[in-house]
Amino acid sequence: MLRMKARSLELSPPAWTILPRNLLALVVILAIAIMMHAWVRPAVGNYYNRVMMDVGINIVLAVSLTIVNGFTGQFSIGHAGFMTLGGYVAAATTYYGSQLLWSKAAFFGGTLSSNTAESVFSAGLLGGGDLLFVAGCVLGGCIAAGAGYVVGLPSLRLRGDYLAIVTLGFGEIIRVLLQASGPQVTRTADIAAKNPFELTTALGGALGFTRVPIYTTQFWTILFGGVTLLVAYRLKQSSMGRALLSIREDEVAAEAMGVKTTRMKVLAFVIAAFFAGMGGGLYAHQLGQINAGELGFMKSFDFVIMVVLGGMGSISGATLAAIVLTVLPELLRGVAEYRMIVYALLLIVMMLVRPQGLFGVREAWELIRPLTRRMFGSGAKA
């Protein structure tokens, strides 16, 4: 028994090789991000830049939700709650952090965060605000992951709709609690005088957390989006991802095959919440403020819609849906007051004519492969 266990462990490569194994992908993501940052961002102007950042943030959130809703088949409609939580934590970290470090909350980024030409390159490439920003986002992600653990636990007992309702309830509770928090401390002297733990409850209340330094640029959205995609993709290929997919297909059968369903479900929640929290950090540092009131459950539905429209469990589908559903309302701006009506009707029509989503459960390349095979003869084996 022990021998068997030891041997089955050898099938997967040791954990420390995670970085080298994904090095190429990471380098590609980094290269794309730097290229977009250096060439595309100055060329397209502010408006398109903002839309592209929105796309990146929505990809982070939609793909992370795919891990719960798409892979595992659990039904979470409280994703915006994690996003809000992570966003607040990240915003508070950079705002209070810069107040404590540099005695003002202004922008302290390096080159990678400068959105405007005149912004000052103040504190070295990573020694300045950028590092604080990334730390804030990661911290936000971790706190959100903790909340994801708490939300995932009821999946022990609850299934389907009931779990959905609980996630919705959790999302709303997070929103209300954040809205009931104390007023934001704005004077530098007050911040320095306060106990850091007191600052964790000074999150702006109903007015939202404002004056967040603006750090999010295309570089960061592409980097975070790319990492989210990479993790989701590698997860789907791994044995852990297969376990998640098996839960979606048939929970009872999965359990019979030895999949620890409870642990796997909670894990899916934790991973998804982590990335949602990071996405929230990006969101807060893009707008310069974050307000829990605007991130209610309708926002969660936006992401659920992206996942379902893309096809359950299809990473490329969710990505495409995130792009389309971010760009579409922008394109419809021409018809101002009708745009949300058109959007809603498109959604309904889409559900009627293609209920399985854009790609179904498959990925884009899996759909393209048969096509290319038909066109160029049977190059690959069936």
């Binding site: 039904f75 009821p154 007051e337 009506i341 309904i348 559900m351 009627l352 209920p355």
Partner: protein
């Protein structure tokens, strides 16, 4: 003591409205097993419809009442012509076409459906004129409120019927998630089309006072207002009517049968589609009544149709349905009252800014301890 009684009264009067909305959620869930997220928008539609009809009937001091705009008449007339036309084509030409062209020709053009909708709409138009007539004569003026309630219920019933037929019915066999997304789509559609200039607009309004709100009695320092008594009375009466309808009529028995087992019910000769349509109409009408009573009680709370406050109200009603045991009609009534009381006592005696937290914490506790709700039956998953 005064505070306690006041809170109790507020809790009960708002709780009975939650219960009315929750009934719609619970009936639809009981039969179709999906959360109808568009239901809270039907409630909003009810509130705004009562307001518009009150204006139409002449309940404003300022100027002549506006009757229907041209576009509404146009739609009505087009539909009324189209319906019978489709129906005739369906009856005469389609069978012949089918026999010659084969099964790709559809069975029906939904002519009967359009005719039903058109007749329904004309009845509502007639009722609006009736409301005008009652407003005009002083002796019938107290009756206007009843007519407006009936119009709101009928209008929302029609909306529920249309939504079910056009959006949900084609998805009967689809995964539940798709139906849910469709419901969200409809919710967005209703919210945003309600904001259009020629419908309700984006400005909050104030409901005209249909009756003088004077205190009927004073008990221990708490004034019992006429509007509260009539509102709670209407809500309770509607709930009794529903109870009778579901548990003591043939149609109600059919509803129970469909919710128990749809397939077997259809094998027993129950027209499942009709029962589902009827359920939607019923639920929507109850939500409309809740909307009417809500703006009667709080005339200043008529916020613009897409306001998040409405969504939250609907969400709490939904929580009420879950707490009572979703799919269970008596549970929804109980849950509504419970949520109303919890909310108002929480606000009065604990921290008021956490008013929504109490409701959702209760939701989570109930789901963890007793997932099937207070009155719901536990379901065992079969392998």
């Amino acid at each position: 003591m005064t505070k306690f009684l006041q809170t109790l009264m507020d809790g009960i009067s708002i709780g009975s409205l939650y219960a009315l909305i929750a009934l719609g959620y619970t009936m639809v869930y009981g039969i179709l097993r999906f959360i109808n997220f568009a239901h809270s928008d039907i409630f909003v539609l009810g509130a705004w419809l009562s307001f518009s009809v009150a204006l139409c009937a002449g309940w404003t001091a300022s100027g002549a009442p506006l009757l229907f705009p041209t576009w509404l008449w146009t739609v009505l007339i087009v539909v009324s012509v189209l319906g019978p036309l489709l129906y005739v084509v369906e009856r005469t030409a389609l069978p012949a076409l089918r026999s010659s062209l084969g099964p790709r020709v559809p069975h029906a053009l939904a002519g009967g459906f359009v005719v039903t909708a058109a007749v329904w709409a004309w009845v509502l138009v007639g009722l609006v004129f009736l409301a005008r007539a009652t407003t005009a004569s002083a002796s019938f003026r107290p009756l206007t409120g009843v007519v407006i309630l009936v119009i709101a219920m009928g209008g929302c019933g029609l909306a529920g019927y249309l939504i079910e037929r056009l959006a949900y019915k084609p998805l009967r066999a689809a995964p539940r998630l798709n139906v849910l997304i469709t419901a969200i789509g409809i919710s967005l559609f209703l919210q945003n089309s309600g904001q259009l200039k020629f419908l309700f607009g984006t400005q909050p309004q104030k409901m005209p006072e249909l009756m003088e709100n004077k205190p009927l009695a004073v008990v221990a320092g708490v004034a019992i207002n006429r509007v509260d008594v009539i509102g709670a009375g209407t809500a309770v009466a509607l709930m009794f009517a529903l109870e009778w309808l579901v548990f003591h009529t043939r149609l109600g028995r059919a509803m129970q049968a469909v919710s128990y087992n749809t397939r077997v019910a259809s094998l027993m000769g129950i027209d499942v589609d009709r029962v589902i349509s009827f359920t939607f109409v019923l639920g929507s009408a109850l939500a409309a009544a809740a909307g009417f009573l809500f703006v009667m009680k709080l005339p200043g709370a008529l916020r613009q149709p897409a306001d998040t406050g409405w969504v939250l109200l609907g969400l709490k009603a939904f929580v009420a349905a879950v707490v009572g045991g979703i799919g269970n009609i008596r549970g929804a009534m109980l849950g509504g009252l419970f949520i109303g009381l919890l909310e108002y006592f929480g606000v009065a005696y604990l921290r008021p800014e956490l008013r929504d937290v109490y409701v959702f914490v209760l939701l989570i506790i109930v789901l963890l301890v007793r997932p099937s709700g207070l009155l719901g039956k536990a379901t065992v998953e079969k392998v």
